[in-house]
């Protein structure tokens, strides 16, 4: 039986992340519909005993050049796996590795691609993806004619449980020369410990672009101080240098799961939602009633945060 779906393992260090199992679970559905095997690509060095989840076959590239992550080297290894497996669909995440490699892989293969997918299905032999565009304000239903169809999926779009269930897949070892990849990995660094741990708080006050300026942060800092909780922030606040990195919630920041997440002036870009959607209760304040944050929030208000925050602080 030929390979229908190839899932790219997102593991760089540590454990295999949830998104890989999310992709395997969805991959199993698509592979069944297309009548082929589900494969996983595992790229690294001394990869050891990794869980392969629901995969029927694991393509392993184990090479010293992959000991430390370097995009072009991993891409060359992945291209070799795609050539060997000849899948109809390649699933990656719009996350760690997928954001780096999916587009270049697809262009290199002359293959159709959909980014930011939140769903993937088949209609006969055609792969159909639904992708988030414009910061989640619109969805695009797209048909990918051609093989392999490369789809990068937003983490959290599918359940991971189905992808974890599996036996012992057939192992295919792929040897590839990575000398000419033009890049070498120098090392991977885990986040530095800091005095602020936004992941441990039961309540987070989080602020986004709507705060307008660094000076205005004082207003929300006063609220956080009154509540005796840390101040968190979305990406634009960190990139502006208004708050240090350990305060960032989102894909490249921290994943948080407080009892209550108070989102002030945050529109709800997919990258941010990825980091906070597991909060017990989400209360969002944004003057744009169509802001995507209101889709995931439990409570919302369009009152201006500059009016609301002083009122809140006054009550504490």
């Amino acid at each position: 039986m030929s390979v229908a779906v190839l899932v790219v393992s997102e593991r760089v260090v540590g454990e295999v992340p949830d998104v890989t199992f999310e992709l395997l679970g969805k991959g199993r559905e698509i592979a069944s519909a297309l009548g082929g095997e589900l494969a996983i690509a595992v790229l690294g060095h001394q990869v050891g005993e990794l869980p392969f989840g629901a995969a029927d076959v694991a393509y392993v590239v184990d090479d010293p050049a992959l000991a430390n992550y370097a995009a072009s080297a991993v891409e060359a290894a992945l291209a070799a796996v795609v050539e060997a497996a000849s899948p109809k669909v390649v699933l990656m995440s719009t996350g760690t590795v997928g954001l780096d490699l999916a587009a270049s892989l697809a262009a290199r293969l002359g293959a159709p691609m959909a980014s930011y997918a939140v769903d993937v299905a088949t209609e006969g032999d055609t792969v159909v993806a639904t992708s988030q565009l414009y910061g989640g304000k619109l969805l695009a239903e797209v048909a990918l004619e051609g093989s392999p169809a490369v789809v990068s999926v937003i983490p959290g779009s599918f359940a991971a449980d189905a992808g974890r269930v599996g036996g012992a897949p057939r192992i295919e070892t792929i040897a590839v020369s990575l000398d000419g990849a033009g890049a070498r990995g120098e090392g991977v660094r885990e986040p530095e410990a800091s005095g602020v741990d936004i992941t441990a708080a039961d309540l987070l006050v989080s602020v986004g672009r709507g705060i307008g300026s660094k000076e205005n942060l004082e207003l929300v800092q006063e609220l956080a101080d009154a509540l005796k909780v840390p101040l968190a922030a979305s990406r634009p606040i960190i990139d502006q240098g208004w708050l240090p990195k350990p305060h960032q919630v989102g894909k490249s920041g921290k994943k948080v799961k407080p009892q209550v997440y108070l989102a002030l002036g945050i529109s709800g870009a997919p990258e941010h939602l990825e980091g906070m959607r597991s909060a017990g209760t989400i209360i969002a304040c944004n003057t744009d009633p169509k802001a995507p944050i209101f889709e995931v929030a439990h409570y919302g208000t369009t009152v201006d945060l500059f009016d609301l925050v002083p009122e809140l602080t006054e009550r504490l």
Binding site: V12, N68, A70, A71, S72, L99, D100, S104, L105, A106, A107, R108, M113, A114, V128, A129, Q132, L133, Y134, G135, L138, L139, E141, A143, L144, E145, G146, G182, A183, G185, E186, V188, R189, D202, L203, L227, P236, D239, Q240, K245, P246, S252, G253, K254, Q259, L262, T281, I282, F294, E295, V296, A297, Y299, G300, V303, D307, L308, E311, L312, R315
Partner: protein, 257 residues
């Protein structure tokens, strides 16, 4: 170090976005177009690199609504040269694959040391620019880049891998980098300096023939996400909403107020 920065225009996400009559694109007639914010970070990093090690910064964009303003602003900030690529419909949706192919066609004759662009744009349906440009040129690339350091004929870059984990790697030049964040916030160009740049800067125009891009995803329909019910909206004045929020926090034992 000769640096090329690839920038683009994008519908302003603050605006209401309507879908066109065909249901396959946004209605572009009434949308305000602004510079892609990640490209602004790429330009800032390029200017910082130039200040650190010398060289030139060339900014290139496809012809798009209000792009001249973005190019003049880049010149006002310190770009040495600004280039506009033509030969496509300037008012339509240019897919990332086609955009990258057009830029790659122009880059083949430019011989830069490094190409910087924003890590993503909000309508990158068929992939992110940096990787696609690199694929077309056969150059190494890295995305989600937050640190760029030249080292001889190589670049050492740091990429974010999610959850605060970062990877450092060394790339042979020329390379293409998708910039997530520059070493400092993008500098501001006052309107007076942009006006000055309009007087003193010539935007070079280069026509690019339609490139072959192979199979791409075809949009069947574009639509607002179905509402999943979403948030229960708290109505009333700021004071009334504050009362309700404090009540929610109190019910969960998070405040004693």
């Amino acid at each position: 170090m000769d640096i090329v920065v690839v920038v683009r225009q994008l519908a302003d996400l603050v605006e209401e976005l309507e879908v066109n009559d065909e249901g396959t694109d946004i209605d572009r007639d009434f949308v305000k177009f602004v510079a892609n914010e990640w490209d602004e970070a790429a330009l800032e990093e390029a200017l910082c690199l130039k200040e650190a090690v010398g060289g030139t910064v060339t900014v290139v964009a496809l012809d798009e609504p209000d792009v001249d303003q973005t190019l003049y602003a880049a010149a006002a900030k310190g770009a040495d040269r600004v280039v506009k690529l033509t030969g496509h419909d300037p008012d339509g949706w240019v897919r990332t694959r086609e955009r990258a192919a057009r830029v790659a066609t122009w880059l083949r004759d430019q011989h830069p040391d490094v190409v910087l662009t924003g890590v993503q744009a909000a309508d990158d349906l068929d992939g992110q620019m940096a990787g696609v440009v690199a694929a077309y040129l056969g150059w190494p690339h890295a995305a989600v880049v937050v640190v760029v350091e030249p080292a001889g004929n190589e670049l050492t870059v740091t990429q974010e891998l999610g959850g605060g984990t970062v990877a450092t790697s060394t790339l042979a030049m020329p390379a293409v980098l998708g910039i997530q964040a520059a070493r400092q916030a993008p500098r501001y160009a006052p309107i007076s300096r942009i006006r000055q740049a309009q007087q003193s800067t010539t935007i070079e125009e280069v026509e690019i023939d339609e490139p072959a891009i192979g199979a791409v995803a075809s949009v069947r329909r574009l639509f607002p996400p179905p509402s999943r019910g979403g948030a229960e909206m708290l109505e009333g004045s700021a004071a009334e909403v504050a009362d309700k929020i404090v009540e929610i926090l109190r019910a969960r034992g998070l405040v004693r107020a």
